[in-house]
């Protein structure tokens, strides 16, 4: 029992799912099974771009234990991709990337299914493959989707056509005039490759179809209600006939937000009348599952002689791979982030998503932002060096403050950029003098959103007085549900969060939630839980008032009792009230929350699915590197991140998000790249796709800054994604400070640093 009205808010209470996870008893998607279950495997394209002449499944069907084989001819009507319906679940007539699913097999064992897949014979007629955005935009480039005009497309998207699948643009102020009058203009181009979420548990699901055709899917997923809608849309099954139950989730990071493995399981389960499980191998994950888009970013900035940023123009060409997936939404993030959290007289930014013959790209933590911010923040340090202004001072001079406008004209509130700059600079001991031994420091600044959209909750109280939170929100590992929302809910009920039971993420039993995406869960699901607790208390007080012959307003909930405020002896236990409530249809508090949309200048953008950052938060990254000039090897010696989280609900898990996100960002900065050669991924494993490990890293010095929001629970802001955005530019800027050279392509490998040193490259 807690003895203050805030309960455990601000305390590092352990998460609910901790014990099960440390003992190995926690059940993930890969651990789940159903009686009579079959295993599925997919056969995949061995060509990057080709016409499919014929598919022969005869030998595959003859493999003992094989129960069903399907190809694109069986699934012509089943086309996915949430915003532009361009992605058949199995390639039909044409393959558009190496690794694209072309057939699916269900068998008694995974080995039999795999053996059958190897025996599927496909005759291809090769087509020229497009390996880069530049090739895709060439005048004579082959069109990857010749039928693009016939695709269903979400009305928010501006789709120029051909290989350009979406184009969002931002125009504010008269950038031409500002550039014409500016003292200095800088222009640079930056390259960012595709990188992968690399959750340690890959995509995995089981589907079962009952005799009435109702589908039950168990999936390791971040957004069960979105998955239910995807399944309904792709397979033309009424929504009410689809139930999604989320299993334990072994990491998501945006990679489990859309339909992935599930449609294959469902179609095969329909054919075989058996439950079907499909899990992807690490190779399949890295070759064919929705990585972060690569990008080519050109940024042009007008600056006054005294270091005032005036206007910025930018062109971001994101490499979407062969399918649209989440790219049409992600492009708008480029508009929001290329200018950074600074004051501008004018902005003119164009962001496009472009088809190439690579894996279709999806969402990965802070989607769209690391590419743009690497460019924008790297160029700031070039400007600082060339104008002789300290990079910290340059940022402080231009930082947005309360009441300033965001890039699309939203009025910024509870702005904390300067606080994070000061906190990071103090912690790292900011100076740019270096130590004379090729070491240097770098900074970068970011801002990010707390995504809105609805969350809902029920809170039930059982006859023994136990509260059960029933939430559609999904715990993917962050602690947002099993620590954060639990603490927020428990505080409203005056209980220890350990005594709260949680039921979550099942479309049949829990109320709607927009999913674990966009740094939203603790804020939005937390607010929904507060609303549900309020409703439940009203119901409990009404019963208690009747029994105690007083008014509901006379009562308070304390220490498991509903008491008269003036006479604590006049009371009923929660259990007493729950028993009475149980005879009257039960006590069930209901609540929901939906953030009002943040207003912005809607005339400033075209084709943007995201036009404002809701409850924005800010962060500064600062690091120190040393560079071996002989080899180009960069040693990351110190790393500081200061991020505004509004109000800390749980210090351990809050800092855990910032630290963990930072290390993913360091991975993108220094190690990670999906390498394509001749149309295929040549590093589809953890030996060659290098994730950060302990020897690569200093201890991350995480500073939580608190500038409360006006609408998050207890002033909280979204936390989860932002930290991944800042590291590439901070590290590039530190390398520049240490060596004087610029590395404009990620990852910042020894080879690239060595080449930049050899070439004396400064811009």
């Amino acid at each position: 029992m807690t003895d203050n009205a805030l309960g455990t808010i601000g305390m590092s209470v352990p998460r609910h799912d901790g014990p099960a996870k440390v003992t190995g008893r926690f059940e993930y998607g890969v651990d789940a099974s159903r009686p009579g279950m079959l295993w599925a495997r997919l056969a995949r394209s061995t060509q990057a771009h080709a016409r499919v002449v014929s598919i022969d499944t005869t030998a595959a069907r003859a493999v003992p234990g094989v129960r069903a084989v399907i190809t694109g001819a069986d699934t012509v009507e089943y086309v996915g991709s949430r915003y532009i319906r361009d992605e058949p679940i199995l390639a039909h007539e044409r393959v558009r990337y190496h690794g694209e699913p072309i057939a699916a097999v269900a068998a008694d064992t995974e080995e039999a299914a795999e053996a059958a897949c190897r025996l599927i014979g496909v005759e291809y007629e090769s087509l020229p493959a497009i390996g880069s955005v530049a090739e895709a935009l060439a005048p004579d480039a082959p069109i990857i989707h010749p039928d693009w005009e016939g695709y269903w497309v979400s009305p928010m998207i501006r789709r120029p056509g051909g290989n350009v699948l979406s184009h969002a643009s931002l125009r504010r102020g008269d950038s031409q005039a500002v550039f014409a009058a500016a003292d200095h203009v800088f222009e640079d181009t930056y390259e960012v490759p595709m990188v992968h979420q690399a959750s340690l548990e890959g995509r995995v699901a089981i589907a079962e179809v009952d005799d009435s055709g109702d589908v039950h899917v168990w999936s390791s997923h971040q957004y069960p209600f979105g998955l239910r809608q995807d399944i309904s849309d792709i397979l033309h099954i009424p929504l009410s006939k689809v139930r999604v139950t989320v299993t334990g989730v072994g990491g998501g990071f945006g990679g489990k937000l859309y339909a992935g493995v599930e449609p294959y399981c469902i179609v095969l389960a329909e054919r075989t009348r058996r439950p079907v499980k499909l899990r992807f191998t690490r190779e399949e994950e890295l070759v064919a599952t929705s990585p972060r888009m690569g990008a080519t970013v050109t940024v042009r900035t007008a600056v006054s002689a005294d270091g005032i940023l005036l206007a910025r123009e930018g062109w971001i060409d994101y490499d979407s791979g062969a399918y649209a997936e989440s790219s049409p939404g992600v492009v708008s993030v480029g508009l929001m982030t290329l200018g950074g959290p600074y004051r501008w007289q004018a902005l003119s930014i164009d962001a496009r998503a472009i088809y190439t013959n690579k894996a279709g790209c999806g969402s990965y933590r802070g989607p769209g932002a690391p590419q743009a911010v690497f460019a924008g923040e790297s160029q700031l340090d070039r400007i600082a060096v060339e104008l002789g202004i300290d990079p910290l001072e340059l940022r402080l001079r231009n930082a947005v403050r309360d009441g300033d406008l965001g890039p699309t004209g939203q009025i910024l509130e509870n702005v904390s950029l300067v606080e994070t700059l000061e906190a990071a600079a103090a912690r790292i001991g900011w100076d740019t003098a270096g130590t004379g031994d090729d070491s240097g420091k770098g900074l970068s600044c970011t801002w990010w959103t707390t995504t809105g959209m609805p969350s809902s909750a029920y809170i039930r109280v059982d006859e023994d007085g136990t509260y059960v939170l029933v939430t559609g929100a999904t715990e993917i590992g962050t602690g947002a549900v099993t620590a954060g929302v639990a603490q927020i809910c428990a505080a409203e009920l005056g209980i220890d969060p350990a005594d709260l039971k949680i039921v979550s993420a099942d479309t049949a039993t829990t109320p709607y939630d927009f999913g674990a995406q966009g740094s939203r869960t603790m804020v939005q699901a937390g607010n929904a839980a507060i609303a549900a607790a309020s409703d439940l208390k009203d119901q409990m007080f009404a019963i208690a008032a009747e029994k105690l012959a007083c008014q509901p307003d006379d009562l308070e909930l304390r220490d498991g009792e509903i008491r008269h405020k003036d006479d604590p002896a006049v009371s009923l236990t929660v259990s007493d009230v729950a028993r009475i409530g149980g005879t009257r249809g039960g006590l069930l508090g209901r609540g929901s929350y939906e953030q009002p949309p943040t207003e912005f200048d809607t005339d400033s953008v075209v084709g943007a699915m995201i036009g404002a950052f809701n409850i924005p938060s800010f962060a500064t990254h600062a690091c120190e590197v040393s560079v071996d000039r002989q080899t180009g090897q960069v040693s990351l010696d110190r790393y500081v991140v200061a991020q505004d989280v509004g109000h800390v609900i749980n210090p351990t898990y809050c800092a855990g998000q910032v630290t963990g996100g930072t290390v993913q960002g360091i991975g993108q900065a220094m190690f990670e790249e999906i390498v394509y050669r001749d149309g295929r991924v040549v590093n589809p494993n953890f030996t060659d796709y290098k994730l950060p490990t302990l020897p690569d890293l200093p201890q991350i010095e995480t500073v939580l800054v608190e500038v409360p929001s006006s609408s998050g629970p207890h002033g909280a802001k979204g936390v989860g994604e932002q930290a991944v955005i800042g590291p590439p530019a901070a590290i590039a800027n530190a390398v520049r400070n240490a060596t004087g050279v610029a590395v404009n392509r990620l990852p910042i490998t020894a080879e690239r640093v060595w080449s930049a040193l050899r070439d004396g490259r400064t811009g």
Binding site: S12, P14, R15, D17, G18, P19, K21, V22, T23, G24, R25, F26, E27, Y28, V30, D31, Q197, A198, S199, L200, E201, G202, G248, V249, G250, G251, G252, F253, T281, R282, I476, G477, T478, G479, T652, Y653, A655, G656, T659, G660, G661, T662, V663, Q664, N685, F686, T687, L691, T693, L694, P695, L697, Q699, I700
Partner: protein
């Protein structure tokens, strides 16, 4: 072609029939139902499948079941007994667990370290856990948890 293997896992004796090429990971998960051991890369690169063989951590995804004969295997299920092992408790209490998929492997690697070196330095912990990947935490809370379990400094 299957062979019969005698295994000693978490103090219990097992007979399993498996192919000579079967890996210990698959036998543990599929034949013995010990699903706490995880597969994430299947090539000995990430440490998610770590088990202890006579107290030493190995990657069970590339460890043939035959190699395990005559040795005592400890999986995460066998670590704590009726109560949590101090490393398990420290992981749960220090934010060392997020999605938790890597946790069994880390817990076993850390427990093996503390058996060998009861009071390690932070550098010794970082070195001992260098072969385990975590995609969520950024590692620092894992290091802190191991130091805490050892009774050492947690900074």
């Amino acid at each position: 072609m299957t062979h019969s293997f005698r295994l000693s896992v978490n103090g219990g004796a097992y007979h399993v029939d498996a192919s000579a090429g079967a890996f210990l990971l698959d036998v543990l998960r599929d034949d013995l139902g010990l699903q706490g051991t995880k597969e994430a890369c299947a090539e000995g690169e990430c440490g998610s499948c770590t088990v202890l063989v006579d107290g030493e951590p190995v990657d069970s995804c590339i460890y043939f079941v035959g190699q395990a004969e005559g040795h005592e295997i400890t999986t995460v299920e066998g670590l704590g007994g009726s109560d949590l092992h101090p490393v398990q408790r420290a992981f749960a209490e220090h934010g060392a667990v997020q999605c938790g998929f890597c946790t069994p492997g880390f817990v076993l690697a850390a427990a093996a370290l503390l058996t060998r070196v009861p009071d390690p330095s932070a550098d010794e912990v970082r070195e001992a856990l260098a072969g385990n990947l975590c995609r969520c935490t950024g590692y620092d809370n894992i290091v802190a948890a191991v130091l805490s379990a050892a009774g050492g400094e947690t900074t």
